[in-house]
């Protein structure tokens, strides 16, 4: 036996989870919504998805090559960003806008800030907001197969029925309409312990309670407000982004409460019919402060008797 052992710091075993594994779970969790979007909006939805995912992965690959950094596309986070972005776009979005949006998400929001873990705001959400402002992309009404043919239902006079909202057969972004598909994915993330319940439950709960009051204590209309628009996808998949949301349970609760309140304020009193993206973006910016306020008390440093 030679002196074969490497001198290494403990611990010497690991739970086996990896960044790539977590991102793979997120991709799996988004499959039902992708499938629902394709069924509802047709094959072009799939094209948008493929373009965004491919563009995001490619831009990260190129960025790393050009700046001579270690390759990170293997961790699948760029693919997640691409998929999330696509699911937040209307099906009739011009393809070139998808490419520009992906470029913005990956290069401007993520890579220039130092890559995964260092971005201040969520790349997919920021790109969505950027596209809304730059191209008015989301103002273009989607053309749903057989549902209300105007803009997103939040702007429409007549809300679709609860069942329609639940299944997703109405106008909106590709991946945001089917509450059912998103819930399946969300539950998968909870079961796999990729996320905890705090953000989705508090975010959605806050919007429900606020809407309940605003809609004159009409539970059905409040439920419609929850299921319509980007709330469910936002609460399960965008607001739970590790990098841009607080780590501790209380931090998450505070973050989600803020996001829920802002969503409602924008929806009811703002100029845009949909407030989820702006609300999450705003809370992303507050995350470092929330993180500081909600730091766990360290055992043995007093006050913990």
């Amino acid at each position: 036996m030679s002196s074969l052992t490497k001198l290494m710091i403990s611990p010497h075993i690991h739970c086996g989870r990896s960044t790539g594994g977590i991102m793979r779970d997120v991709l799996i969790a988004l499959l039902p919504a992708t499938l629902a979007g394709t069924l509802i909006f047709g094959l072009r939805a799939l094209l948008v998805v493929l373009v965004c995912v491919a563009a995001c992965v490619l831009f990260e690959l190129l960025f790393n090559l050009i700046t001579k950094q270690a390759q990170t596309v293997g961790d699948l986070s760029a693919a997640v960003t691409g998929l999330l972005l696509a699911l937040n776009l209307p099906v009739n979005i011009p393809i070139w806008q998808c490419v520009v949006g992906s470029l913005f998400a990956i290069v401007v929001v993520k890579c220039l800030f130092g890559g995964i873990g260092n971005n201040l705001v969520n790349p997919a959400i920021t790109a969505r907001v950027f596209m809304l402002v730059a191209f008015g992309s989301l103002a273009i009404p989607a053309f749903p197969v057989d549902a209300v043919a105007s803009a997103t239902p939040l702007a429409a006079e007549q809300m679709p029925s609860l069942m329609t909202l639940f299944l997703g057969n109405y106008g909106g972004a590709i991946g945001e309409t089917s509450t059912l598909a998103l819930l399946i994915g969300g539950i998968y993330l909870l079961v796999r312990r990729v996320i905890t319940w705090h953000i989705p439950v508090v975010f959605i709960g806050t919007v429900f309670v606020f809407s309940f009051f605003m809609e004159g204590f009409d539970a059905v209309r409040a439920l419609s407000m929850v299921m319509a628009g980007g709330l469910v996808i936002g609460a399960f998949f965008m607001a739970t982004d590790y990098v841009t949301s607080p780590a501790t349970p209380w931090g998450k609760v505070l973050f989600a409460l803020g996001a829920g309140l802002f969503t409602c304020l924008i929806r009811y009193f703002g100029n845009y019919p949909e407030g989820v993206s702006f609300a999450i973006l705003f809370m992303n910016i507050l995350t470092p402060y929330i993180g500081r306020w909600t730091r766990r008390k360290v055992f043995g440093t007093g006050g913990d008797k």
Binding site: M1, S2, S3, L4, T5, K6, L7, M8, I9, S10, P11, H12, I13, H14, C15, G16, R17, S18, T19, G21, I22, T72, D75, S77, G115, I116, G117, N118, Y242, V243, P246, A247, T248, P249, R295, R296, K297, V298, F299, G300, T301, G302, D304, K305
Partner: protein, 439 residues
Amino acid sequence: MARYLKGIHVPHRKNTANKPAVRMDAPQTVTIPMAMHIGKPATLAVKVGDLVKVGTKIGEANGAVSANVYASVSGKVNKIEDCLLSNGATAPAVVIESDGAMSVDETLAAPTVTDRQSLVDALKESGIVGLGGAGFPTHVKFDVDPARIDYLIINGAECEPYVTSDTVTMLTRGDDMAYAIETIARCLGIGKVIIGIENNKKEAIAAMRAMAASVSVCDVQVTSLPSVYPQGGEKVLVYHATGRVIPMGKLPIDAGCVVINCTTLATIGAYLRTGMPLVEKCVTVDGGAVAQPQNVIAPIGTSIEALFAFCGGLKEQPTKILYGGPMMGITVPNADAPVLKNTNAVLALTEKEAKLPKTTACIRCGACVNNCPFGLAPAAISRAYDSRNADELVELAVDACMECGCCSYVCPANRPLVQKNKLSKQFLKEKRVKEANKQ
């Protein structure tokens, strides 16, 4: 504050829990370092050519926090050499060539222990150090005002994967433990003894309850602890057993507790009864590379190579050999490194067992924060250390870290969090020394 601190689920892999410990024959040679404890190395008490027997003193404690060292086999002192220790330092070591007889030193006799002073003196003489941890000389723990001690806490928590030597001790050496508890309680006037064991070790709990019933001089209770890692950390154990919080930077005695590992206790009992000092250790020999994993009672100084040979040899090339468990254990510097006083396990891990994922960028998932038993923020500590921000490190209370390894274990980016915590503590310590020198 919660009744129980957070912990994590680690694999058990306690392959050796149900097998009795096997005593090993005298190895041909033993290498016994003079530094197997915290504090100064012992002073050599023998020279090359001297004849020694089991229990002959070969090293004399040097200072208050030091410990005597005894020969573990009978034979001749072959040479004195420098031995590389796991912390990178070297210390003299006595190499004894065994005569195979294992004859016992006739001068050994059970000590007379009647009060605190005679107990402390006896323990000092015994060479006993904390056998589960860093090797803190045991007599120092009792060298305090007895009025400060409310509880004697016996650490029967063995939360590291693979390791079962403490459990085996509890199952088989209850009489030694009972004798030690009675003597200590009598000499120090301790009324309450608590034995902490994880609730998945049913047999050990039953054995200890039976032992507790036989002790009459004080109240002995067995507390079952949650079976999550870590339970064996002193601060965790004291909190779970008594609800008391040991403040950061303080010792158990500051919370009125003395904590003794169960194997240490059994060793104390044996010494008080027979006068045989600390010369052998029950060691869990396991890991995927070991042919026949088992608990081995080996003379201190036995080489790890001989230990493996006794267990059927290695069936596969290990990637890592450890002293202790995989969560907190340290890598063995080389294969002829000896069994030390505080060695509770020697593991030969295969590549598959010791596989660590690639280290990538922190994704701020919060797993480290949410799994730290003490509520530390390891990711933030690493960032503060990288920018050498001392104020932030103090603010983050990095000194409270017990280096249990939960944070690194769960980190999906496999960040070197424990390492950064250690470096941060070192950094703050050096900074304090520098500032003290300036004034």
